[in-house]
């Protein structure tokens, strides 16, 4: 049976969808069978980031309601043959998702794949609680910024109370993924540093993704960054994070600033 991971954050725009795609593709590149599931009903975007927006026929709600079979709704990635996408519905309302229906679909996916990675919608409403409901482990995406850290703390509280695992009395494993980290600003005390965020949230660190233009480039092209920008710093960080998720021991490299002469002299961002 595969492992179900929820990628969540509370706050929107911190990089949940980017991280879901990047981690999914990274695990697939390692040879695992992976499905990434979009839970953001009404505002789906994982299809776009994965470059599969024109191949969506059926979606999660169709499968939950029995309109389509799971195999009809799954979209196989064109670049990695062990990577699949289960898209969210764009039109119907989110009340169409029931707990029992989701439980059934997750069970099916778990028996077919090594990894089921659920991209949670933002917020703490039904969509977000459903996405985390049947997870084995959680990846909490946080930006080193006050509102994101606060919302992550709320989400950690929900993971410990509203999930099936928590209700059984088990402990949900949680991993912190710090995204959009700017080493220069952190070094200058303009941004919370990794240690600050770790101390405040007190969950283990899965990885630190540096802020990079490559991330936007990848989503423009419709490819996970771990496929199209493999040599970039964020892709390396995501690959390492995926390996840690799979249980490998990898040294944690905190991104450091590449300083130009101007920045060295004035200690400011030159760009």
């Amino acid at each position: 049976m595969g492992k179900v991971i929820v990628v969540t954050s509370g706050k929107g725009g911190v990089g949940k969808t980017t991280s879901t795609a990047a981690l999914g593709a990274a695990l697939a590149r390692m040879g695992h069978n992976v499905v990434v599931v979009d839970f953001d009903v009404g505002l789906r975007n994982l299809d776009l980031v994965m470059g599969a927006e024109r191949r969506v026929v059926f979606d999660l709600i169709n499968v939950v309601q029995g309109v389509a079979k799971l195999t009809q709704a799954l979209i196989r990635d064109k670049r990695l043959e062990t990577l699949y996408l289960l898209p969210a519905s764009q039109t119907r309302d989110k009340d169409a998702l029931t707990e029992e229906g989701i439980a059934r679909v997750i069970y099916d996916l778990r028996s077919r794949f090594d990894w089921v990675i659920c991209d949670s919608p933002a917020g703490i409403e039904r969509g977000a609680t459903l996405a985390m409901r049947y997870a084995d482990e959680a990846v909490i995406v946080t930006n080193p910024e006050v509102s994101s850290v606060r919302d992550s703390d709320r989400i950690i509280g929900l993971l410990d109370s509203k999930t099936e695992k928590a209700e059984r009395g088990d402990r949900m494993a949680k991993h912190l993924l710090i995204a959009r980290f700017d080493p220069g600003r952190a070094a200058r005390g303009e941004m919370l540093n990794i240690q600050d965020v770790l101390e405040i949230l007190s969950i283990p660190l899965l990885g630190v993704i540096p802020e990079s233009e490559e991330v936007l480039r990848a989503s423009n092209l419709g490819a996970p960054i771990t496929i199209c920008g493999q040599q970039s710093a964020p892709a390396h960080a995501y690959m390492d994070a995926a390996r840690r998720l799979a249980g490998e021991e990898i040294e944690m490299l905190i991104p450091t600033e590449k300083q130009g002469l101007f920045a060295k002299i004035f200690g400011r961002r030159a760009a």
Binding site: S161, N193, D196, I200, I265
Partner: protein, 100 residues
């Protein structure tokens, strides 16, 4: 090359860190207290309903946080069948528990 340091504004990250620490300590306490109240309310409702039929909306549970101890106040409204004009009897229970 830190000669120009005085030109820069004082770093803001420590302020962010301190504000978050204070806020989250408070919010975590509030959330755990809210879930305690919900649990108590549900269980009290279940127990009382076994003996008298009551409106789930007519149960009030609150915790007053004090210095040395907290006070738990439970108010259950039970319909008074003896009253001619549908009046209600207020049953109040108040207990004290050490502050957590």
């Amino acid at each position: 090359m830190r000669l120009f340091r005085f030109l820069r504004p004082i770093s803001s990250a420590p302020v962010a860190r301190e504000r978050l620490q204070i806020l989250l300590e408070y919010e975590r306490r509030m959330v755990s207290q809210t879930s305690l109240i919900t649990t108590l309310k549900d269980e009290i409702l279940a127990v009382v309903s076994r003996h008298v039929s009551i409106d789930p909306e007519k149960i009030h549970v609150s915790v007053d946080r004090g210095e040395g101890f907290s006070t738990l106040a439970v108010g259950v409204q039970i319909p008074n069948k003896l009253a001619t004009e549908g009046g209600v009897l207020q049953t109040g229970v108040a207990g004290q528990s050490p502050a957590t």
